[in-house]
Amino acid sequence: MNTMDHDALREAAGLYVLGALPADEGRQFEAHVSDCAECQREVRSLGAVVNLLPFGLPQIEPPLALRGRVLAATRADTGVSGAPPTLIRRRDFSRTVAWLGAAALLVFAAGLGAYTVSLRQRLATVEGQLREAVDRLNRGELLLASAEREADRAQVRLAVLMAPDMKQVTLAGQPPAPRAAGRAFFSASTGLVFAAANLPTLPPGRTYQLWFLTRSAPVSAGLINPDPGGRVTAAFDVPPAATGAAGLAVSIEPDGGVPAPTGAIYLAGTSR
């Protein structure tokens, strides 16, 4: 390789440790680095710099409850690392390590196979979140409500609660979930704030969907995802077709939601 090509590669080291290389360039860089001591040094030294960046962030104290949650999660885990590492050639990976702090590299000398174990376990652990992310990607515009608009959430709730046209809707648990209960604050001009408790955990492939009950067909507000305790709060936009809604209902639907309700109703109520 000539000097000019190598300079270009070495300059990619900084991008590599930041995780800023697209997959193909990253793989190319990794293939080179495994054989090049100079680039390894570059990765190590720049990786050490990148490692320090989080220490300059504002240090925010996590909620007290998180400690118990973390410890409970590890207690639930047997701590066994899983299947023995298997040898996987690097080019079989679609993902490989990008951000390499020099010292951190050294912890992972177990071999490439350990990565596949961690990926399986990680998928199992975050299955719910992945499902939700896929939901959002697959949903069409009609179904995609503003429920997850993070930054706006607090403002929407407050605005709804203070809106002059705010109506309260109490939802009662229906036969599939007699202990479930819900309450919503609905302002046709501003939005919908919804809260529920005691919603049963759904099997894989199923989700809860919230509907505005209008004089014509029900209009979807969006999908709701209770936590493991069966509780959920969410805020939604009110689509134009739903401004005259007189009630709300929650049904069980396939993952990703549907344009019209198909499944059993779990919660329902009308506004006063």
Binding site: Q40, S45, L53, E150
Partner: protein
């Protein structure tokens, strides 16, 4: 100057070793020492407290599961936690946008050979955050924004160039210059 740093690193290695033998108290110890920085990094990336809490839990669960693979004292446990945190946090925000994925900064093993840890890394463990922040402040706006877009939002250099409406070459150069400047400032501080 590096007071307390070696103490923490030794204690971290000891905790990890005990975790590898199934000691749950060791997880508590690691969390008490590093939970805050893990949470702070997660929060910076995912910008949502519930998601950040999930990331923290995932990170410590992963640390717990992988502790048994831990080798004798080498490298920085905090750096290991940071890598996992960033990886999971970036994955989470990528799930919110449908984009083709760049290299995944996951905490997987690599086939890089074993090498000694650079001294600059130890600076982090002294808690000299002010020094780091000062070094970051010295970067030009473009250098800093480009680095932060890459590190905290998981964008590729192509995506950064699009976002900032700049030529790709400019973005790559700024990132490289910024990292070299940081390295220079922080290495100077460690002496």
């Amino acid at each position: 100057m590096l007071a307390g740093q070696s103490g923490s690193e030794t204690a971290d290695h000891s905790a990890l070793e005990r975790m590898s033998r199934g000691d749950h108290e060791a997880v508590a110890e690691l969390y008490d020492r590093h939970g805050r920085i893990v949470y702070s990094l997660a929060l910076r990336i995912v910008q949502d407290t519930a998601d950040a809490e999930d990331v923290v839990q995932e990170v410590f669960s992963q640390a717990w599961r992988h502790a048994s693979r831990y080798q004798a004292p080498r490298g920085s446990v905090v750096a290991w936690l940071m890598i996992m945190t960033r990886s999971r946090a970036i994955d989470r925000i990528r799930g919110r946008r449908s984009r083709p994925e760049p290299m995944d900064a996951d905490a997987g093993p690599s086939d890089m050979p074993d090498t000694a840890a650079p001294v600059d890394e130890q600076l982090a463990l002294t808690g000299q955050a002010t020094q780091l922040r000062a070094a970051v402040e010295e970067l030009s706006l473009l250098q800093r924004v480009a680095i932060e877009l890459a590190f905290y939002e998981g964008l590729t250099h192509i995506e950064i160039a699009e976002r900032l409406e700049l030529p790709l070459g400019t973005v790559k150069t700024r990132i490289r210059q910024g990292l070299l400047k940081l390295k220079d400032r922080l290495a100077g501080a460690a002496r």
